[in-house]
């Protein structure tokens, strides 16, 4: 997998420090480093998850100014969270090579926006490289570290899902030795941003480093002419995963075109681009999401007064929304060359298929939480459609789907609390609820809660504490005693944090005891001030891994097939067999929620096999 290849690249590059925050499609890099250490493949001295991406980036920067080769990993929106130190980091630069891995998600497949993080290079003035395959990603880590140490700047390694999550063959290289000494000497003009004169000087320094980049990077062979064509009609410039679609489409069409693959996206090596542009009458830029390279190439071509026509998304040849694929790239090439369109045959599906919205897992504690929330709203004498429920990022956003259809918003990390608070502060007349997970709360929920407490707003916050970062694959949180690397940690209890922020009404309840939880919700909706309910119950997947001791079974003679359990809980362990409910025993983890709900007491506890 691309992310494992990047982890291998981190070993090869002699990294001494890796940090990050889990986020699809980036999470497996650090996961793989943990696995490599366990399996004896090799280890980076310090690898741990950080509380959020900003902290992760600052940690890695701290290591790198001490001469340690470092990396921080994140998904696209994580770079937004860490934009502040990103821009300041460009002014001080680094001593040890530093790589900022940002994994974008064209499609989008798992991300809230189709963010194109390439623009961050222009904003921060930091070099950026991008691979087109897993093995290239592995090699680029070492190249990025080398480049970083030569140019003294952090390097952004930008990837997309089709590289991070693609599986492909890799051929490992030799490993560089990590620098052994951690050394940091005071150099105030470089590291202190309080003097405006120094800041101007560092800005000039930064521009100078970028201007020197082509000669600094030349021997790293980051860009590559993949195909040379004698036919001048069309050349193609591409970077990242789309390079594959271009080469596949050309092979399929049996058409000759020049192809330039850019590995260094910022600053673009103008000499390389100009050489290529001069060889063709028309150049098609193939890239995902925004016309980023296209705008650069158009500017380069115009400054040099070239005759070549540079085309891409602005001409409508390729979509700005969604992923590219061999099919739409092929269509763009056909249009450029004036070839007849080859329509792909599309098979009709003759049967109406049911949709399959992703449910929560069997026995998921969030099922109990949302069931109790909806019941609590009713018990408070309110209607479900008059109490806005602000969701947040994590598995609990699946409450969007039936049967709960509970959340009204899901935005950015921590925004549940602050947006709910904002609506309330603006004068919204009815109660508002924010639902946030434990890790998301640690990541970005703390300051919003502080804000709500300080402003004395009426707000019910449910922190769904399943004691893990569940959605991205069960990483540890700051409340854990041991980190994923096996290191002893100082646990920071969620309750203490909430109390410490000044919340007076804090309760801890169990997701599997809905009667108590719905009463707490009712009280929380009707009382004034900030109320926090911490709903404690381990993620069902972890509970299942630890071993199930009991489960539940339906007594068919008692079940009337009223389906109340299915309609209210939507637990995937519940299914219908004939006209009765049946519990799929391999799925049941014994949470008891359905048994407590059954009006006919038809669901009984049995010992797990």
């Amino acid at each position: 997998m691309g992310n494992e290849a990047i982890a291998l690249g981190a070993l090869e590059a002699g990294m001494g420090f890796v940090s990050g925050y889990p986020g699809t499609p980036s999470s497996e890099v650090i996961e793989a480093l943990f696995a490599f250490a366990r399996e004896g493949v090799g280890s980076v001295k310090y690898v741990e998850w950080a509380v959020n991406e900003k902290v992760g980036l600052e940690l890695a920067l701290g290591a790198a100014i001490g001469g340690v080769r470092s990396m921080v990993t994140m998904k696209g929106p994580g770079l937004n969270v860490s934009a502040d130190p990103l821009l300041s980091g460009a002014y001080c630069g680094v001593n040890g090579g530093m790589v900022i891995l940002v994994a974008d998600d064209p499609g989008p497949i798992t991300t809230q926006t189709e963010q194109d993080s390439r623009w961050y290079s222009d904003l921060a003035k930091l070099p950026m490289v991008e691979p087109s395959s897993p093995d290239e990603a592995r090699q680029l880590v070492t190249k990025a570290v080398t480049l970083s140490e030569r140019v003294k700047l952090p390097i952004i390694l930008r990837t997309t899902t089709r590289v991070n999550h693609a599986v492909g063959e890799v051929s490992p290289s030799e490993r560089l030795q990590p620098p052994s000494e951690v050394k940091f000497e005071r150099d105030a003009p470089r590291f202190v941003r309080a003097s405006m004169a120094w800041n101007r000087a560092r800005h000039s320094w930064l521009l100078g480093q970028l201007a020197a980049m082509p000669s600094i990077a030349a021997d790293l062979k980051l860009d590559r002419v993949e195909r040379i064509s004698k036919d001048r009609r069309l050349g193609i410039v591409a970077a990242g995963a789309p390079v594959n679609y271009v080469l596949d489409a050309l092979d399929e069409m049996k058409v000759e075109c020049g192809v330039l693959k850019l590995g260094l996206l910022y600053p673009i090596d103008e000499a390389v681009v100009l050489r290529f542009l001069r060889d063709y009458d028309k150049v098609l830029v193939v890239e995902e999401i925004d016309p980023y390279l296209e705008s650069k190439l158009k500017a380069i071509s115009q400054s040099a007064r070239l005759q070549v026509e540079v085309v891409g998304k602005s001409e409508g040849l390729l979509p700005q929304v969604g992923e590219l694929n061999t099919g739409n790239v092929r269509a763009a090439i056909e249009t450029c060359l004036g070839l007849p369109k080859v329509e792909m045959p599309v098979a009709e599906i003759p049967v109406k298929l049911p949709s399959r919205p992703p449910p929560m897992c069997p026995g998921c504690p969030h099922i109990g939480s949302y069931f109790s929330l909806i019941r609590g709203i009713a018990k408070a004498g309110l209607k479900k459609n008059e109490v806005p429920v602000f969701g947040d990022i994590g598995c609990y956003a699946l409450a969007l789907n039936p049967p709960f259809e509970a959340i009204w918003t899901e935005h950015s990390m921590g925004a549940s609390i602050s947006m709910a608070a904002g609506l309330k502060a603006a004068g919204f007349p009815k109660p508002v609820v924010a639902v946030i997970g434990d890790s998301t709360f640690f990541h970005s929920g703390v300051q919003p809660l502080l804000e709500a407490v300080h402003k004395g707003l009426d707000l019910l916050v449910m922190i769904l504490d399943n004691s893990t970062v569940a959605m991205t694959g069960h990483q540890t949180t700051p409340a854990d005693e041991e980190s994923d690397s096996g290191r002893k940690m100082h646990p920071v209890p969620l309750y203490d944090v909430v109390k410490g922020l000044g919340v007076e009404k804090v309760s801890k309840l169990d997701a599997y005891e809905p009667a108590k939880l719905m009463d707490a919700v009712k009280d929380g909706l009707l009382q004034s001030g900030v109320k926090v309910i911490i709903v404690e119950r381990a993620c069902a997947i972890l509970a299942k891994r630890r071993g199930v001791t009991k489960l539940y079974r339906v007594i068919p003679d008692l079940c009337t097939g009223c389906d109340v359990c299915i309609n209210l809980l939507g637990c995937p362990a519940l299914t219908i067999d004939g006209d009765k409910v049946k519990i799929i025993e391999e799925e049941c983890i014994g949470c008891s929620l359905c048994a407590g709900l059954c009006p006919y007491k038809a669901i009984v506890e049995v010992e797990a096999r």
């Binding site: 089709r162 390079v243 061999t326 449910p359 049967p403 389906d563």
Partner: protein, 200 residues
């Protein structure tokens, strides 16, 4: 080998992703170039999952377009049909007739179509449809989690694209502790496939 495209259709939690990883490693073990990709939403379990595997001398893109799969391995009847637009005419289709209801069918907002109708739709797409009761057989062997490698056994018997030793090595590597029972289930799938996978 010319490029060979395999699509694995499953419901999250059925082992489709793991199977794509096993096939990829088996292909690399056998000296091929390989790429995989998947269409996977926020579902860890319970959503529709399509895994794409491309094997050949030099493959690049992780996905392939509609109408270009040489084989479809499907672990659920409706998911098989959902993915059938990806297969070439008369591609090898291995389908487990297992039915996984979705929340919309359980709450009666939508209907789950009759399985026979689903198989009919597959047959309209290909004359090479085989029913492989992978889940049932793997459960009978006491390893329901190994339904994916049972299906892989059937695939190996019916397609000869992957050498058996390369596959067994890949199963051992990918599944680690669970691999010895999984290799057994794989072998049962391989041996039984001609008897069990009845032509429909």
């Amino acid at each position: 080998m010319n490029e060979y495209n395999i699509l694995i259709a499953s419901v999250g939690g059925q082992g489709g992703l793991t199977l794509s990883r096993i096939i990829a490693e088996a292909a690399v073990n056998a000296g091929f170039s390989v790429r995989t990709g998947e269409t996977l939403g926020m579902a860890q379990r319970g959503g529709s999952v399509q895994s794409f595997v491309r094997i050949g001398r030099e493959v690049r893109s992780p996905l392939f377009p509609l109408g270009t799969a040489d084989a479809l391995l499907a672990f659920e009847a409706a998911e098989a049909v959902r993915s059938s637009a990806f297969v070439k005419k008369d591609a090898l289709i291995l389908v487990d007739p297992e039915v996984k209801q979705s929340i919309t069918t359980l709450t009666k907002k939508e209907k789950y179509p009759p399985v026979e109708g689903l198989l009919e739709a597959l047959r309209a797409r290909s004359r090479n449809v085989r029913v492989v009761e992978a889940m049932r057989e793997a459960s009978k062997l006491g390893h329901p989690k190994s339904a994916n490698v049972y299906m892989l056994g059937a695939f190996c018997a019916l397609s000869d694209k992957l050498p058996v030793p390369s596959v067994e090595e890949a199963i051992a590597n990918v599944l680690g502790r669970r691999s010895s029972s999984a290799v057994d289930v794989f072998r049962r799938g391989l041996e039984a496939s001609k008897a069990v996978a009845r032509e429909v």
